[in-house]
Symmetry: C2
Subunit: 318 residues, 2 copies
């Protein structure tokens, strides 16, 4: 095995709960994302020697930080032969925490991938997902893979089933662009999850989302962006979570007035996404949406625009 002695990997941010696809549809962004550096160490297990970009908010203990948990799972995922006993990690957060853009998933994926690359690419995609989900399970208590799977695989990813676990990559129309607006407010993920878990739904709400998600997938296969936009609609979860984001209704209205191909909440928010037909369109949407957040809710925003990241998490060097 000609494995490197140290590696640097990147794992992208993701949009999850995509439109009608609560817990089952996500996609990878070109940026932002997290970087992890890993090197072999004579000290057994995982060491986390540095975390940057988190304003000191994340745990430094490797067994309480998702990057360490996922890395540890990756270290134990396959038999080891002649390797050093431990791995030393450095995590560089390139994205805000609690934004709804899969921050913990990106760190988990980067941790698992860094160890895999250090081991010469020892782990296949399914195993990487399983290892990264260990990190997600630690922070959320449950398993939802619609951030981890697209961060690893890139593109637009569907979780067909959690038991047995099966993931499918969907076609990505070449012209599709995304505008993401992250207003500087916080949504408690656990609270947002609890509201949905406690809610009971009428069959008509489920039927609405079933029609839309099936149309969304059809649109991706047909490269029909108009249909794709019409299908970005969520009768189940968005109505529950929208009130947690000040100004969401107005921002969505603005996006649709600017011909966005749908607009909804990413993850449990507060980030809001809209799809666009071109780079210029995406830029205009991001600008108008962030202006609107400022106007109606006094919220400053970061924005990200670009194509879908079809490559997913990758080794940058090593």
């Amino acid at each position: 095995m000609t494995a490197p002695t140290q590696v640097r990997v990147f794992a992208p941010a993701t949009l999850s709960n995509l439109g009608p696809g609560f817990d089952v549809l996500g996609l990878a962004l070109e940026r932002p994302g997290d970087y992890v550096e890993a090197e072999w160490s004579d000290r057994p297990g995982i060491e986390l020697v540095e975390v940057t970009g988190d304003d000191g908010r994340l745990p430094r203990e490797p067994d309480r930080n998702v990057v360490g948990i996922a890395a540890s799972a990756a270290l134990g995922a396959t038999p080891r032969d002649g390797e050093a006993p431990g791995v030393r990690l450095r995590l560089h957060k390139g994205m805000p925490l609690g934004s709804g853009l899969g921050s913990s998933a990106a760190s988990s994926v980067a941790g698992a991938l860094a160890v895999s690359e250090l081991r010469g690419g020892a782990l296949d995609t399914a195993t990487l997902i399983a290892c990264a989900l260990e990190g997600e399970r630690f922070v959320s208590g449950g398993v939802h893979a619609d951030n981890v799977a697209p961060s690893i695989r890139g593109g637009i990813v569907l979780i067909r089933s959690y038991d047995p676990f099966e993931v499918l990559s969907l076609p990505v129309p070449s012209e599709l662009r995304v505008a993401v607006v992250h207003p500087h407010t916080s949504v408690m993920t656990a609270e947002a999850r609890r509201l949905v878990a406690e809610k009971r739904f009428e069959i008509g709400q489920a039927v609405a989302n079933l029609g839309q998600i099936a149309a969304m997938v059809t649109a991706l296969h047909r490269e029909d962006l108009g249909l794709f936009g019409r299908a970005i609609s969520d009768a189940l979860v968005e109505p529950i979570r929208a009130p947690l984001i000040p100004g969401f209704a107005e921002v969505k209205q603005t996006a649709l007035e600017e011909d966005a191909l749908g607009c909804s909440i990413s993850g449990s928010g507060p980030s809001v996404f809209a799809f666009a037909k071109s780079d210029d369109h995406a830029e205009r949407l991001a600008g108008r949406m962030s202006e609107r957040f400022q106007e109606v809710a006094g919220l400053a925003c970061d924005t990200h625009t670009g194509p879908i990241n079809t490559a997913g998490a990758r080794k940058v060097s090593g």
Copy 2:
């Protein structure tokens, strides 16, 4: 206009509530189906002069029989110019009532199509669907289009949205075959609907169906019959309706043991369908499933096997 003076049309039976796609996914069968003959008449409005094949169970009044209601809607759907004032109809039921195979939809579609063809094909598909739904609304009180739309269009049809109404045709893999088993027992459609309407669902049940329907659509686009079969799974409605069909659990188990590509209830039952990879496979499934209904519930069955009907309702003569 070179419209005929009399026509004969056929509208096929349909499977609806297809797997995870309650109220949104249906498909057309090659047979059975209903025939309607229509001719111009000097007596204004719709006359229903003959109904056969229903053992006298359907209303003979044209405004209380779906065929007359849909035909009347089709007569009024576009401006009329120089036509006779009325239409005389004959309905020949070629399929059992209350079987879960879209009997009322087939009659509604045939009624609307017969009038359209008598008028030289005056109505487009969207209008035909709207007219046929008038018949469905009369018998069920609500609007569900997953029988009417595939009966008219043929193939596998998705209802993206009811408001606004939008229907999409999905790809039909050329090797896909279906086995339908109709056990001779009755399910009260209204009761089956009420059970679902009154039920409240957990988010996890919706998530399960969202993943499956998205995978089902992906499978159709990829012509991946294995994936298609894995996706025929319904966590929302099948658990509620299965107990209404004696022997369903055993029959489904038998189908899956015989390598069926999924097995579920059509409409509100009692018909049960399974997908197959060949004509022989479909025949074997139908045979084993009907034997099983007889063994465990003492029910005799009709069976239907064949490809998906991609043509849909059509003029047979005139």
